[in-house]
């Protein structure tokens, strides 16, 4: 067992935890923070996406003991215009992938604002223009089986300063 302390959604929490417990399981089963979802447990679906010091990760691929001293934000700790935009654009149906989509989108917007390119980025734009195509590429680690992709992209476009009002392609 290992003692760790993390900040989760602003609260300092201590855990005495086995080294094999994933960050996702620690959050869900040990701390009762059930916003991050488990869809595949192998980094394929993105439902478990959380923000660690502002950077998006798949928490099912992370061991909790690696995150001693770090700051974790899950959907419960998010207060972002994206949430309202998801509802308005119906960027969700069953809601199971939604926490991951929203956390991922917040991380993605920060990556974009920092000028990080994606594989579909062309030209010398710095930062690249956040087109629908850019959003789709950057969000492709988050699966939605209900198929709410159009609404999710619209919600992200809606709140991104760069993409606001952009007709998109």
């Amino acid at each position: 067992m290992t003692d760790i302390r993390m900040k989760v959604n602003g609260d300092v929490v201590s855990l005495d935890i086995e080294p094999w417990v994933s960050l996702l399981d620690a959050l869900r089963d040990r701390l009762g923070v059930t916003g991050p979802k488990k869809g595949c447990d192998q980094g394929a679906c993105g439902a478990c996406t959380v923000l660690v010091d502002g950077i998006r990760i798949n928490s099912c691929l992370a061991l909790a003991v690696q995150y001693d001293g770090r700051e974790i934000t899950t959907i419960e700790g998010v207060d972002h215009p994206l949430q309202e935009a998801f509802v308005r654009h119906d960027g969700l149906q069953c809601g199971y992938c939604t926490p991951g989509q929203i956390c991922s989108a917040i991380g993605m917007l920060a990556e974009h604002a920092a000028g990080q390119p994606s594989v579909v980025t062309t030209g010398q734009d710095a930062p690249p223009r956040l087109t629908e195509q850019e959003i789709r590429e950057r969000m492709s680690g988050n699966l939605c089986r209900c198929g709410a992709y159009n609404g999710i992209v619209q919600a992200i476009l809606d709140v991104s300063t760069d993409g606001a009002g952009e007709p998109g392609r």
Binding site: D25, Q42, I135, R145, G147
Partner: protein, 754 residues
């Protein structure tokens, strides 16, 4: 007592038809929505399954000693020590809950193995990690028995299916084979579709809690009423002592419509250990223990005269069931209804394999049947040198082509015309491979979507409170369709109250029995109950009002009154519900609608003899194909649909889009790979089974060209499944246009185009 009298009656736009935000959206977008695996109980234990590794056989030895020795393991249940569940027995002929059995296996009851992946042991431990680790230590030795698992190899042994009361698998009109042979123009094509899995992002999960002989189960279910009935039979407990809670279902698509082993084994483990038990299937566990869509082989042959008038339509299919269950799906269903051919032959056959039972997956039958039919129609258009839309318009039926019943509404002509105009179909060069976008080949394809409309019994109560608030109660299911939002809109209109004042309770077996969320039936079925219950409420309110001297409603009948502004009104005056109930000294008025099964079945059978009704759509697809790699990307999409009256324009559009997205997966990337030697699924994961991702999906335009169905409650026709039908054909037809190649074997991967 205040009496509202207005010279100008305020008429509000009805909520039905509007684009309303889903009422549970905020809970889902803030992480407040709690799914089945997210309910904590003191002393909660965790379970994990051990799956068989042979397709058929007997367990000769099972050694759980190493698993039991792991600290934290509470119990290992095998067929040697598990308490028995009751056999299911036979349900009555109209007991639809029999549909809820995923298989007919009595789990952990005998040493028999019926499919590769069957649970042969359950480990219960203090933590999920311990349970999973210990499950890996259980050693099982098998005596293998001969098994039949290879669908393709078994095709020669397919057995014709018989028509039943609830499903027709065959039809014959005229002499289709002779007409085909005599037709001046014809196509005769074979199609194959692979096994598929639902892959709802929420894996099946059960939290089971016994309190003496009373049972509480948290479970994502598409039919909580059937699930409760099934559990009652299996565990010998009266139905009222079981409570199934399922307020949020993290995607179903048919996969959560039946009872699969994980659910039963969680309940069994909780009873055996005396602990609350949670069993969350791994993604692999979902593939191993929850059935998917059957594979199919289909033949579609079409004969036509030179003008493109169909003379023969033949559609035959082979699908599979399992030795342990599964119902055959109506693959030729759309071919029965879409085209006015004078000679029609439809034949469905089945193969029985030693695999897990297949089950319904979004538009069972039509999703893959329309791929074959609509690909063949397109190929006939190529052969005729005719525009594929013109060909379809030339063959639209006036009445049902097989049964001759009246079509309650059929707007495909408008859908084709309007869709073609909006999509820019005129820009399509009729030649194959003639359109380019830079170096990429461009193809445009079109196909028809079809899904039958029906309803199931639903019991509903509506309660109107003296403060003007309304509670609608029905044990229906919400898994992303916006079910509660739609019923709140309907109740708000029926009673003339603000949407915000309506609360809908659902997803709880203590509520009146809802219909299953399957077959696209839920919205219309529950709407019937809500409308009837609201009418009863208004009648009782009026009766209360008329007893009060001086009420402006005295002397009026319900027919003369409008429900609006939270009250009942006529041109000369009216009264609010609050005033009426307060004056009558009543806290609330409640009405219950109970829908019985027998009357329902009789009405349905009578209805079916007179009418054919369906949701229909036309899909327009544009693809880009890389001429070097032959990679196919969907670039544009438009669907013009008719699902009767639309209750919520926003969530209905999402349902259509969701169907299209799943259809694009069916067309281009999805397949469950079964090892033909041992029946084991070899890609049981989201990394190796490719569902569409953001980058695969362009903007999907949807246009409502529908009209209310005169025979359905409120004119509503289900929209959950029609969206996926026809999609694979639209993609295949676009690929045919771009490349000149007809691919009849799904998915259309690049190797099939090289």
């Amino acid at each position: 007592m205040t009496t509202i009298t207005r010279a100008e009656p305020v008429t509000r736009t009805p909520y039905v038809g509007r684009a309303v935000d889903r009422i549970d959206g905020t809970a889902k977008a803030t992480g407040q929505a709690r799914f089945a695996a997210e309910h904590h109980y003191p002393g909660l234990a965790h379970a994990a399954l051990v799956h068989s590794t042979v397709a058929r056989g007997r367990i000769t030895a099972i050694d759980a000693s190493a698993a039991r020795a792991v600290p934290g393991v509470i119990e290992v249940l095998t067929h040697e020590n598990a308490p028995a569940m009751k056999p299911l027995g036979k349900g009555g002929p109209i007991d639809l809950s029999a549909m809820a059995s995923g298989t007919n296996v009595d789990y952990l009851a005998t040493d028999e193995v019926h499919w590769n992946g069957q649970p042969v042991a359950v480990v219960v431990a203090e933590t999920p990690e311990t349970a999973r680790y210990a499950a890996g230590l259980v050693k099982v030795t098998y005596q293998e028995l001969p098994s039949v698992v290879d669908f393709a190899a078994e095709l020669p042994n397919a057995v014709p299916l018989k028509n039943s009361m609830i499903m027709e698998h065959n039809a014959e009109k005229g002499d289709a084979e002779s007409a085909l042979a005599a037709a001046p123009v014809s196509v005769d094509l074979t199609f194959t579709t692979p096994p598929l899995n639902h892959n709802a992002i929420e894996p099946h999960a059960t939290t089971a809690v016994w309190d003496g002989d009373k049972l509480t189960v948290h479970e994502p279910s598409q039919c909580i009423a059937f699930l409760r009935k099934h559990l009652a039979k299996r565990f010998g407990v009266p139905e009222p002592d079981i409570r199934v809670l399922s307020p949020y279902v993290g995607g179903g698509f048919g996969g959560k419509g039946s009872v699969w082993p994980g659910t039963l084994l969680a309940v069994l483990a909780a009873r055996a250990t005396g602990r609350p038990v949670r069993l969350v299937l791994t993604r692999e566990g979902v593939y191993r223990t929850v059935g998917g869509r059957t594979p199919s082989t289909q033949r579609v042959a079409l004969g036509a005269d030179e003008q493109g008038r169909l003379t023969a339509l033949i559609h035959t299919s082979v699908a599979r069931t399992s030795r342990i269950g599964g119902a055959p799906e109506p693959i030729t269903s759309a071919s029965r209804h879409l085209y006015a051919a004078p000679n029609i032959l439809l034949r469905e056959s089945g193969i029985t394999l030693d695999l897990l039972s297949p089950t319904f997956m979004r538009a069972p039958g039509e999703a893959i049947g329309t791929f074959a039919l609509e690909s063949a129609v397109d190929e006939l258009a190529w052969k005729l040198g005719m525009d594929p839309i013109e060909l379809r318009l030339a063959n639209l039926p006036e009445r049902d082509p097989v049964g001759g019943q009246q079509l309650t509404r059929r707007t495909l002509r408008q859908a084709y015309t309007k869709g073609a105009e909006l999509f820019g179909w005129r820009r399509r060069d009729p030649r194959a491979g003639a359109m380019r976008d830079g170096r990429l080949l461009v193809g445009m394809g079109v196909a028809t979507a079809y899904h039958p409309a029906m309803i199931l019994p639903a019991s509903v109560t509506v309660r109107l409170h003296a403060d003007g608030t309304v509670v609608v109660r029905c044990g229906m299911q919400e898994m992303g369709m916006g079910a509660a939002t739609a019923q709140a809109q309907i109740a708000a209109d029926e009673l003339g109250v603000p949407l915000e004042s309506v609360r809908v309770e659902y997803g709880d077996s203590d509520l009146p029995d809802g219909p299953m969320a399957g077959g696209s039936v839920q919205t219309a079925s529950v709407a019937a109950g809500v409308i009837a219950a609201c009418a009863k409420v208004k009648k009782e309110v009026l009766a209360l009002a008329r007893r009060v001297p001086g009420s402006p409603l005295r002397g009026h009948r319900l027919d003369d009154l409008h429900a609006r502004d939270s009250g009942l009104h006529h041109a000369g005056g009216g009264q609010t519900y609050a005033d009426i109930l307060t004056a009558a000294g009543r806290d609330h008025v409640e009405a219950a609608i109970k829908s019985g099964m027998l009357g329902f079945v009789l009405r349905t059978l009578r209805d079916r003899r007179r009418y054919v009704k369906a949701a229909t759509a036309v899909h327009f697809c544009e693809v880009r194909v890389d001429p070097d790699t032959m990679e196919v990307r969907v670039a544009r999409w438009l669907s013009a649909f008719d699902a009767g009256r639309i209750v919520n324009a926003k969530t209905a559009a999402s349902q259509m889009r969701g169907g299209v997205v799943m259809g694009i997966g069916l067309a281009l990337s999805e397949q469950t790979l079964v090892d033909p030697r041992n029946g084991r699924i070899v890609n049981p994961s989201l990394s190796e089974y490719h569902v569409p991702v953001h980058a695969d999906i362009p903007r999907i335009e949807v246009h409502d060209v529908g009209v209310p169905d005169p025979t359905m409650p409120l004119g509503v026709v289900g929209i959950g499944e029609v969206g996926i039908t026809g999609v694979a054909a639209a993609v295949a037809n676009a690929v045919r246009h771009a490349t000149g190649k007809r691919v009849g074997d799904l998915p259309i991967t690049l190797d099939k185009l090289l």
